[in-house]
């Protein structure tokens, strides 16, 4: 997506939506695939009350700079995060939106959008906390950056350490996110803003 092999990713949402965990999973899956990866999260007071975000860079080469200013992909889990990061996405990039918590349509014509009802999926699975995994499923499907096997392995690894009982519902959300997401290509967009 950029001139180098690097893909810069931002994951944003409100505290408690599992932004950090999502970034961790992407990083782990990239590591499983033998890629270089860096992860950064917003921390401390920056994350309280406001939008929390994680930045992940995946690359085939050595990663120079761990900060992400212009993401190639942004995963936004709520409305304030959409407002904050939509303008930052690189032209030709991808914005992945939790459509359950977002009330408006796209504002840019030069990027692709993926819509995934992540919170609705989570609610239907009986656990609001797994909305992030639904979004992650959509990410895996539409970017092809990391393989499905790798992300599933990352989920299993991480939850075997944290909370094994949660593995199944997270995998279910991942899967549902892949199935229920919808890609809206930049080129096919005739009208901007609903």
């Amino acid at each position: 997506m950029s001139q180098t092999s690097e893909t810069r990713i931002i994951i944003a949402g409100f505290g408690g939506q599992g932004v950090v965990l999502t970034g961790n999973l992407v990083a782990r899956a990239a590591l499983i695939e033998g890629k270089n990866v860096t992860g950064m999260v917003a921390y401390g007071a920056e994350m309280r009350g406001g939008t929390a975000f994680a930045a992940v860079i995946v690359s085939d080469e050595e990663i120079a700079c761990p900060f992400v200013e212009v993401p190639d992909v942004a995963i936004v889990l709520n409305q304030p995060s959409l407002d904050k990061f939509e303008p930052d996405v690189a032209a030709g990039g991808l914005l992945l939106v939790n459509s359950s918590l977002v009330k408006r349509g796209p504002r840019r014509k030069d990027i692709d959008y993926v819509w995934v009802p992540a919170t609705d999926i989570a609610q239907s699975l009986g656990n609001l906390k797994v909305a992030n995994l639904a979004a992650l499923g959509a990410f895996v499907r539409h970017t092809g950056l990391i393989g499905r096997k790798s992300i599933e392995k990352a989920v299993e690894e991480l939850f075997s350490m944290k909370n094994p009982a949660m593995t199944a519902v997270n995998l279910a959300a991942l899967n549902a996110g892949m199935e229920q997401s919808r890609l809206e290509k930049a080129a096919s967009k005739l009208q901007a803003g609903k």
Binding site: A27, V37, A45, A64, P66
Partner: protein, 364 residues
């Protein structure tokens, strides 16, 4: 091959310290290094060591003073405002020639500042901070692999030279995660026996660890001369620096720590445009690799210093090359991160200016 692990910098630091045999840690919570005391609180007991959450940074550094005098490999960590509080204790530890490792995951200052990463504590780290003539060995890792490796080595430098060693990181280094190989610890130096520690004088003469030299009149002077001899020896012996594409470089970037990563990316990008750029990145800023910069100045046309402050490190670069080449400056304090593109822009400007010497128009 060593196991590749995925940790945050602060967590990896703990693993490295414990691997290096650190068995005493005292600290006080402060963002962005909270993961250090948090992980220490359970990893130290597992390793048979001691973790203490001190009531203040002042208390923490004095606990280190005691633990080191008792012979332990020990460490404290904090971030900028907390490191300021520790300065009194650091001066005492340096005066008493006790080994220890002090980690500063810098944040924005001055004052309470903010919790974004910054490099504004450079002067404090390399020029003093506390009172009196003393020096810290100051290590500046830029990647988590370097953080791990330099932390292992830091305990050796501290014991070998009987001197406090500072790991000068920043909020990004502490908070970022990237894979690193977890090498087992092997001493890199032939470590002297700790014949100065206080462990009870059974079977030997009693000892004193002191920093007060009232008598005779020249006692403190002698002590200072002895310290200066040691510092000169460290300067002769210790130089850690990465030179990247410097052989034919016309524009040399000088940067350390996290700024150095962005600078490296910028050098690569500039090279793709056909500009002969190179990077000299110290992994240790005291002693400063002055000779490396001096040699580079014989060939390079100009220098560009990039740092996350309003110009501290730049002074040492200028001193090192004795102002024989123009030195441009790109830096801001308070949590600004240099972007690769900003650095490349400066490199382009300098490359175009190369025919006109001494016209450096740094932002400084």
């Amino acid at each position: 091959m060593a196991e590749k692990v995925l940790f945050k910098g602060n967590e990896l630091l703990v693993e490295a310290a414990i691997e290096a045999g650190c068995r005493f840690y005292a600290g006080y919570p402060i963002t962005p290094q909270n993961e250090v005391p948090e992980r220490m609180s359970w990893r130290m007991p597992q390793a048979g060591g001691v973790f203490i959450q001190a009531e203040s940074e002042i208390a923490a550094i004095n606990m280190i003073f005691g633990a080191s005098a008792a012979g332990a490999r020990c460490m404290t960590s904090s971030s900028s405002p907390g490191i300021s509080l520790k300065q009194e204790g650091i001066s005492y530890i340096a005066a008493a020639e006790l080994p220890c490792v002090i980690v500063n995951m810098q944040r924005g200052g001055p004052g309470l500042g903010n919790i974004r990463a910054a490099q504004g504590d450079y002067f404090q780290a390399v020029k003093g901070g506390g009172h009196g003539d003393y020096r810290l060995i100051v290590l500046t890792p830029a990647t988590l692999q370097e953080l791990y490796d330099l932390t292992l080595n830091a305990f050796d430098y501290a014991d070998y030279y009987r001197n406090p060693v500072m790991i000068l990181g920043d909020g990004i280094l502490g908070q970022m995660a990237e894979p690193a190989e977890k090498h087992p610890y092997h001493p890199i130096l032939d470590l002297p026996p700790k014949d100065y520690i206080l462990d009870g004088c059974k079977g030997r003469n009693s000892r004193v660890v002191r920093t007060l030299f009232l008598h005779p009149a020249d006692g403190l002077m002698k002590h200072n001369l002895h310290l200066q001899e040691k510092y000169a020896r460290i300067q002769r012996e210790l130089s850690l620096v990465e030179q990247y594409q410097t052989d034919d470089a016309e524009v040399i970037i000088a940067a350390y720590g996290i700024s150095g990563r962005a600078a490296k990316g910028a050098v690569k990008a500039a090279r793709r445009e056909g500009i002969k750029a190179g990077l000299i990145r110290p992994l240790c800023v005291w002693p400063f690799p002055s000779d490396v910069y001096r040699r580079a100045a014989e060939r390079a046309k100009s220098f560009l210093v990039v740092e996350m402050s309003h110009g501290q490190f730049v002074e040492d670069v200028k001193l090192a090359i004795e102002c024989r080449r123009p030195v441009a400056f790109l830096g801001k304090g308070g949590g600004w991160y240099p972007s690769q593109e900003e650095i490349v822009e400066q490199i382009r400007r300098l490359a175009n200016e190369k025919s006109k010497p001494s016209t450096a128009r740094g932002k400084r």
